[in-house]
């Protein structure tokens, strides 16, 4: 009897923990299954918006219009394994009517930063950038996603350098974010290596 009591004292917590784990994992799995298509749609839309923004295309608010503009103007160039090497974008609103957009990743302060970078057809200057994914500190390094920061890169040519305070005085400078030197430096490194990466991906098509 004593042995049975001791066994159940040992076994019951394990069984209880197992049952609770199965119940809660099941609940979160059901919710994930219900929402995963929506999450995938959001991520796909986000990528399309980023590509168009980086290519200097004006973005409407309506997601359906974004999809239509993307289908009309963007060609996804893929390699043999199906990976998208770059995006070729037709933009009659710009002097460089064809632009190229690549996806570039670099090390940020807390994790990787993934950026879409748009180049003119000669791969000489930036048309625009968009931050696809980042884990920087909200309100500090996270400000790399703000419009004023991203707009600085339009028309600039690599290699870029930062200005800690005040407006940039040279054509290859951009303003850093106060209190976010690592995040700013991460963006600078990504931008300065993007041209070489783009040449490798695009000129080998």
């Amino acid at each position: 009897m004593k042995k049975d009591g001791a066994m159940s004292k040992r076994v019951f917590p394990v069984v209880f923990m197992l049952v609770i784990t199965i119940v809660f994992i099941s609940i979160t799995t059901v919710i994930y299954t219900y929402t995963k298509d929506q999450i995938a749609l959001n991520e796909r839309l986000r990528l399309k918006e980023a590509v168009l923004y980086s290519a200097g295309v004006s973005l409407p608010d309506d997601p359906a219009k974004v999809e239509r503009i993307y289908d009309e103007r963007v060609e996804e160039v893929k390699d043999d394994s199906g990976r998208v090497r770059f995006f070729a974008v037709q933009n009659p609103d710009l002097s460089s009517t064809e632009s190229f957009v690549i996806i570039k990743t670099g090390a940020g302060l807390w994790g990787e930063i993934t950026v879409t970078v748009g180049f003119d057809m000669n791969l000489e200057s930036f048309i625009g950038i968009e931050i696809l994914d980042q884990n920087e500190t909200p309100g500090l390094g996270g400000r790399i996603g703000e419009v004023w920061f991203k707009e600085q890169f339009r028309g600039k040519k690599p290699p870029l350098d930062t200005v800690p305070e005040g407006d940039p005085t040279d054509a290859n400078q951009f303003q850093a974010i106060t209190g976010a030197s690592y995040s700013t430096a991460a963006i600078k490194d990504i931008m300065n290596t993007a041209q070489e990466y783009a040449r490798m991906e695009i000129r080998n098509k």
């Binding site: 019951f12 917590p13 209880f16 923990m17 609770i20 784990t21 809660f24 994992i25 609940i27 979160t28 919710i31 994930y32 929402t35 929506q38 999450i39 959001n42 991520e43 986000r46 807390w110 994914d133 980042q134 884990n135 920087e136 500190t137 909200p138 309100g139 500090l140 996270g142 996603g145 106060t178 209190g179």
Partner: protein, 198 residues
């Protein structure tokens, strides 16, 4: 019920009385919008975690108590994260890792241990809401000051004009420490005066 609310909003406030949940208080209060989302997420998780722990309290073996509580809290936080990604993707992106960090917020585990284990589910649910509201109004007060003085804006809209020079320290962690310390100082001062006069 009134006592539960009064305690958590006043003398037993989780942030300025118990000094719990400080990490997120410092981290997200530089932007008001992020603070609001964090507060709503925390109220949801605290209330449901409290209620669930309370419902299981009579059956839960004491030696796996903390593991069960952590599992429950983590599950609700994952649900919040999934819902944000599906229906509020912009905010989910801005908050980044801080949604997941709700799991580590001491308030949730603290209330589960201190209240939910020894009270019925309905009252525990209300205690979770009250603790969350107590946490929220402190964070919102700090966020309003930090975003206004640090960025010259509120909810992303520019409020202070070009004449205002942004106090960069307000968007950094030291600014949060200062604001929280001032808040605690003011509240304790008012409480001490009331005690002296009574």
């Amino acid at each position: 019920m009134k006592k539960v609310f009064a305690d958590d909003l006043g003398a037993n406030n989780p942030v300025f009385a118990q000094v719990l949940g400080i990490c997120s208080t410092l981290a997200v209060t530089n932007v008001l919008k992020n603070t609001v989302v964090m507060c709503v997420g925390l109220i949801f998780v605290t209330a449901l975690s409290n209620m669930t722990v309370s419902m299981l309290r009579k059956y839960m073996p004491s030696r796996v108590r903390m593991m069960v509580e952590t599992l429950i809290i983590a599950s609700y936080v994952i649900i919040v994260d999934i819902v944000l990604k599906a229906f509020l993707p912009d905010i989910s992106r801005q908050l980044g890792p801080y949604v997941g960090l709700i799991i580590t917020n001491c308030i949730i585990m603290g209330r589960a241990e201190a209240f939910a284990l020894s009270n019925p589910p309905g009252l525990s649910f209300l205690d979770g809401i009250a603790s969350g509201i107590g946490y929220s109004y402190v964070l919102l007060a700090i966020a309003v000051v930090r975003e206004l003085m640090g960025s010259g804006s509120l909810w992303g809209y520019t409020v202070l004009g070009d004449w205002w020079t942004n106090w960069s320290i307000m968007v950094m962690a030291p600014g949060a420490f200062f604001m929280l310390a001032i808040f605690i100082w003011v509240v304790k001062g008012i409480n001490n005066k009331e005690e002296e006069s009574s």
